[in-house]
Every structure is written in C-alpha cells, then in structure tokens.
Symmetry: C2
Subunit: 432 residues, 2 copies
C-alpha cells in the first residue's frame, strides 16, 4: 500500500464515514495523529433525508457530500475509498479490498445494514433503504408502478400496481408511507389519464400493537391519526411470515398483493462484526465496554449502530445518529488524553453517557411528532422543528440552500423536483 | 390497449419527447386533435447540459422534467411511457412494447443514438453521452479513476488512470474535455494526498484538421487556444482505428492508454429507421420531403436528428435542437391547416425553412465561442451568452433556479455539487 508512510505520529484508522466516523475525523486534533478514513463510498450520506430521494423530493447529490471535500482542510486526514474485508484485532491490522492498513488506534463505525432476519431472499421483493442506490431503486419502482398502471387493462392488476406496502412502523416506515401517499395524492394527481393516483393505496404494516414504539403511546396515537389523515392504512399487530414477488403472507394466514413492497422493519450490524471473535448481541452488534472499547482490545473502539452498550446512567444507548456522534466524540477525548498522558486500562477510562436531546419523526406536509425532554408536540409545530433541525445538520452549505429551496418549492407548488426514472428498466434488481 | 378511446377527434401520435416531440405536444392547438406522446423515459432531458451531469456539476434531476408534468395542462394530450417496437406506415399503426396505437397523423421524433460506425463493441470501453444513465456512468468512471489512482502504487498505471481521452472534436467533445480538465485542476485539486489531480492528462482526439468543424476556422482556432489554456491536449488529424479496454489504436500505428475514454464522435439515427422501408442517408436518417413528410406517406412526418433534408433556401438542415423544434412547429402548422381546410398533397404543402439563430459551444469557465449571423465572439462574452441562453431554454422554473444557483456556487467556490459515485462499482458496464 503506497498510502502507508511512517512518520512519528500515531496512526488512527477510522472505518466508515457516516455520522460517527466523520465526527471523529473532523473533531480529532489533527496535529496529534495521522487519521485514515476508509469508506466504500466516496460520499457521506445524510441518511435522515434518504426517504425524500426515494420519493422523488430531492436529488441524490442534495443529501451526499464527497468525504474528501468535507475533510480536505484537515492536514493529517487521509481518505481511502475501499471496502473493509477483515479486521485482525490482535495484529492491529485492517485488510481492505486494495491493500492493508496497520493502526495504533481503531474506530469501527461501519453502521448498520438492512436486516431481513435471516430471509435475505426477501431483499429482491422488498428493498430496504440504506444507500443512495437503494433510494434510486425504490424511486424507480414506485414511479414505474404508476406508469404501468396507466396502460394496464386489467382492473385487478391495476389496483395491485397502485398498492404500496411499507413494512415496519418505525420512523423510516412512517416517513416512507407518508411521503408515498403524498406523492400520489398531491404530486401525481393531475398527470394521468386512465388512472386516478389519489386512489393509490398505501399500507403501513407493523408487528407490534402501535407504530413509533420508541415514542410514548400518546405520540404514537397522534402519528397514527396524522398518517391516517394522509390516506395511509395502518395495520398494527400484523406479522409478516413470508414475502414473495408482489405478495406478503402474514402469520394469521391472510395475504396482500402489492405492486411495491418497501422493507423498513430491520437494521442489523454489518456482517463483518461476526468475524471479530468478540461477544455480539442478537442483532450482531458488538457488546462494547462502557468506554466504547472492544473487549480485550483497549486500542479498538466500536461506535454507532454497530455497537451496543448500557451507558453510565444505566440506559441502553439507542441506534440513532446523535448517539453515534456523541460516542465518536467520547472516543476523540479518550484517545486524545491517552496520547498526552499515557495509556490507561479500559476500566479506568471514563464511561460513555448518552445525552438525549429529543426525538422526532416526520409524517408528511405539516405533520410530525416530536419530544424534547418532557415536552411533546405534534402537527405543524413538530414538523417545522423537524425541518429546521434537519436543515441545520445537513452537511455542506450548498446542500442546505438547495434542499431548503426545494422544500419551499414543493410546499407551494405541490410538485417534486426529482420525479425521474433512471437505470435500465429491465434490470430492476440491480439496485443501481 | 385501454388507452385507445374512440372520440370523433383525429388522433396524432408523437414518438419521442425530446425537443421536437415536446414542442409539437405543447404547441398543437389541443382542441383540434387527441395527441398521444410516447417515450421510453418518463422525463424530457435537456441534452445540452448533459455533459455537466457527466462531470459532476449538476444533479440528474436538474436537467430532466417528467413529461407528464410538462403537458399536464394540455387537455387532449396523453403520455405513454413505452418503447416503440415497430411502425407500420401502410397500416398507420405503431407497435409498442405494451400494446399498439393507430393514428391519423404520425410525428416520428425519436432522435439519435450514439453511433460507433459499425463498431458497437467499442461502446463498453468508450461510452457515449446520450442519456442520464450514460452521464451517471461516465461520472462514476471519471471520479473512480481518481480514487483508484490515489491508492495505485505503480507509477505507469497511476498515470494511465489520470489520463482521459475524449474522441470527437465537435461541441460535445469540446465541452466534455474542458469540463473534465477543470474538474481535475480546480475542483479536485486539494482533495488527494498521494496524487496531484492538476497533473491529470485530458486529450481531445479529432479526425479532421480542426475542432468544431461546424464553426468558421477563426472560431475553431479560438476554441483551440482556450481549450489548450485549460490544459487540454488537442490532437487533430488523428483517426481512431480501434478501441480496446483502456487503449486507443490510431490509423498511423500509434496508440494511447487512458483510464477513461469518452466517445463524442458520432450520432446516428435510431435503428428503427431501417425498418420503415423508406430511403435513408448513410447515417440512417430518413430522407424526408421538403414539408418534412415521409416519402409516400403524407400523414407521417419525421423531424429532428432522425430526418435529413435540404430546406427551401437550399441549405442542409443541421442536427441541432433549434432545427428540431422549428421542424416540429412547421408540422404543427401543416396538420392544423389540413384539419381546418382538408388534405393537401405533400407537393403543394409549404416547404420547411430553417432559421439559423446562431451557434455556440462552451469550453469552460469564462471560455466559449459563439456566432450570431455575421457576428463572432469568444471568451467571456460568448460564455455569458451561452449561460443565459441555456438557462432560458431549460424547461421548468425549479430547474432554472436550481441550475442558476449551482452555477453561481461553482463559479465562486470552485466546487461541484454532484461529486458522488452511485451504482454498484463492480457492475460498471450496466450504464445505470
């Protein structure tokens, strides 16, 4: 590997340029170490707005920024676009698809992958939403379903094409269901001659007895009402047994045919975690020590969706981006102080504490739920708060301006700017 | 086909929603006929800015608008997203991949395809630039070449990865070469640690003795100087004999290795023209009558890149978008007057006359050439004119605002907003 130069500075390898990896690379004092950031994409993706790319509201580049551009001003940060093939914790070595890296400190921040709970064959019929390619695939399939319905002579098949089922009533599922319903009811409304897009049928399928389980019951109920008002049919306590092409079978013996099925039900850790030889939870996440280090390897840390821990206040740290960023900052401070004051055993290091700034989930135009501490709100106020927070956290000045303008445009015109179908239509399964 | 309803109005089928097809659909008085617009994409593409998507300056949705949205206010216009499989001129019937259409009048406006002069096998090694998928593929390959060069230990291979050859010195080739050189020299300049993007090598290969053959020699010379100043090496009188993976063989026995090869050398008519049983020129274009009708079929017209004719002033009509739009307008007037006044034999119809508003080609930042009538200009003034004209003609208010802001942003920051790699990297050949 030509990228390995041997200066006196310690070498920190950061795997993954999501919220955690990027926070680390930007906030670590750059004169104290060389940092190598590895990601298999060339861009950082602002995941919370991914559903808007999938539903034709935003263009892919609006929510992605080149990693190189983000850290180009940090002098000791190197970016490598490469895939991580293996991590040898004992030898302090990472194997990439192109070469190897050795490290003094390691931050594993590879995030999660869509999990089908052992049924990976469902992926072809019910794509998940983790990458830009996923979003573009879903956008293509949803827009194509309306195009096909327009020329479909058979009434039953037409109804099937106009039915979309979103599986999983968490924030992503709620956002997707709301946005698809709005797309049909407001954006596509006037554009077809032979079908009425406002009669499109959007279902949200949830296994437990209410949607948005991570919120208190009254906010779940509010989200339920707001989503129903947007035309989404919500089925709670409905468990999926099997997914076939355009068909879902439920555990109660019933089934549903749908032109599009979107999977928003499960996120698991990247399969790489299984190869590390350390203790994992059921979702494949690394059970890190209270300081976020990997058990038995004090120089290796795992943060974000790939790690699981109970924080110093006794609370389970949730798999959300603010937690990932806080964990990354915790590790920044920890490595920084060790580099100044010498190594400490993990037991003596400060334990991580999660500060919950609040949660929110958007549902649609003027519809959302939010809670900050003990304050709960929903409807327009929650929606305005959601918009502001997401604009502020979106990386890159250009993206912020572009997204803001597109939101203003869509709000007043009831149009969407990214209603295009790209990719070869015959190769729908390639995910590109 | 369910879309065939039988009202008293005559039925006009428009094949293709490029500049010509869309002009026809928008300008034909909509109460006098039913119009069905067929396109295999759901969007109209603003081709003149496609090279900016290929070089990461604009996002794909910025230069595309849903066809349905563009004509949604025309009451008698129906849009079908379908592929044309055959045209039976005698039976007045068009076969689509989904169903059939019969017509009273037909407008064939399917445009051109990238032509490799009988060497379709070169397409895999030297993609052309006709669709959004083409542009996204080229963007991915160019950005990936820099990423790969960054980790390539071998000096020769690194130099090869940083070499891009653009074949064809017409407007598209000139634009591509200039934009790639600028991308390397200004945008990517600071972002790599192991390579110097400003040393990237961009070549423009032209078979004849000067670039921009359609312009007068002094403007060609000006373009040559401006392009050289941007760092592009121009090789005129250099003919391609064969293209292999990452290698071009020339007729003089020399060869060139390049990490990326872009084909901007040939546009031919869509292969469908060969199935019509009418006279074609060497490029496969239909030799239409002076009124733009297909010989022997007065109710069928061919316009745009698919047609060839000498106009009523004795001039060959060029294959440019203003000509395509003017031909479409000519056919609008012709059909409209026939519907009011009864059929006329093609010989008595008014012959088409092309009005040349001028031509321009952009080269890069503050660099372009233009001519309007006898006035010729180049440099900043021509560039400003190019920007204004393309903004004005870009369809859709949102797109205009978005493109304008991105140009302002790029001009002042030397950044580009769409520097993202999408699509599975292992499947580079799929064009998605």
């Amino acid at each position: 590997m030509t990228t390995e130069d041997h200066t006196a500075l310690p070498h920190i390898v950061v795997l993954g340029a999501g919220f955690a990896g990027l926070t680390f690379a930007k906030e670590f004092p750059s004169k104290q170490a060389r940092i190598t950031v590895v990601d298999r994409q060339n861009h950082h993706l602002f995941q919370p707005l991914l559903y808007q790319v999938a539903t034709a509201g935003l263009a892919a580049p609006d929510i992605a920024q080149p990693i190189r551009a983000i850290v180009s001003k940090e002098p000791n940060v190197t970016v490598l676009m490469a895939e991580v093939k293996g991590i040898d914790l004992a030898a302090k070595r990472v194997t990439l698809d192109r070469g190897e890296l050795t490290y003094d400190y390691l931050l594993i921040a590879l995030g999660g992958v869509t999990s089908y709970f052992g049924h990976n064959e469902w992926a072809a019929y019910a794509p998940g939403l983790k990458s830009l390619d996923d979003a573009i695939l879903i956008r293509r399939r949803i827009l194509l379903a309306f195009e096909r319905a327009e020329t479909e002579p058979d009434e039953t098949k037409r109804r099937e094409l106009l039915t979309t089922a979103v599986i999983g009533g968490g924030p992503t599922g709620v956002e997707m269901a709301g946005a698809i319903s709005e797309l049909a009811r407001t954006v596509l409304r006037r554009d077809f001659d032979h079908i009425d897009p406002t009669r499109a049928h959007v279902l949200l399928i949830e296994g437990s007895d209410r949607i948005l389980l991570q919120f208190p019951p009254d906010l779940s109920a509010s989200a339920h009402r707001q989503l129903t008002r947007l035309g989404v049919e919500i089925r709670t306590s409905t468990k999926v047994k099997e997914i076939r092409p355009n068909e879902i079978l439920f555990t109660d013996g019933t089934s549903l045919r749908a032109g599009n099925i979107v999977w928003a039900a499960g996120v698991g850790a990247t399969p790489l975690s299984k190869t590390l030889g350390v203790d994992l939870d059921k979702a494949g996440r690394i059970k890190v020590k209270p300081d976020c280090s990997v058990p038995g390897h004090p120089e290796a840390f795992a943060v974000g969706d790939l790690a699981t821990l109970v924080d110093r206040n006794g609370k389970q740290v949730p798999g959300v981006s603010p937690a990932a960023m806080q964990m990354a900052r915790h590790v920044v401070r920890l490595i920084e102080s060790e580099l100044r004051q010498g190594k400490q055993p993990p037991e003596q290091r400060r334990a991580f504490g999660y500060f919950d700034k609040g949660s929110m989930a958007t549902i649609g135009r003027s519809a959302a739920v939010a809670m900050v501490g003990r304050f709960k709100f929903s409807g327009f106020l929650a929606w305005a708060a959601w918009l502001s927070v997401h604009l502020v956290f979106l990386i890159g000045f250009r993206n912020r301006v572009s997204v803001f303008l597109q939101w203003v445009y869509s709000y007043f015109t009831y149009r969407r700017g990214a209603r295009i179908i790209t990719g070869r239509i015959s190769e729908e399964g390639t995910g590109t």
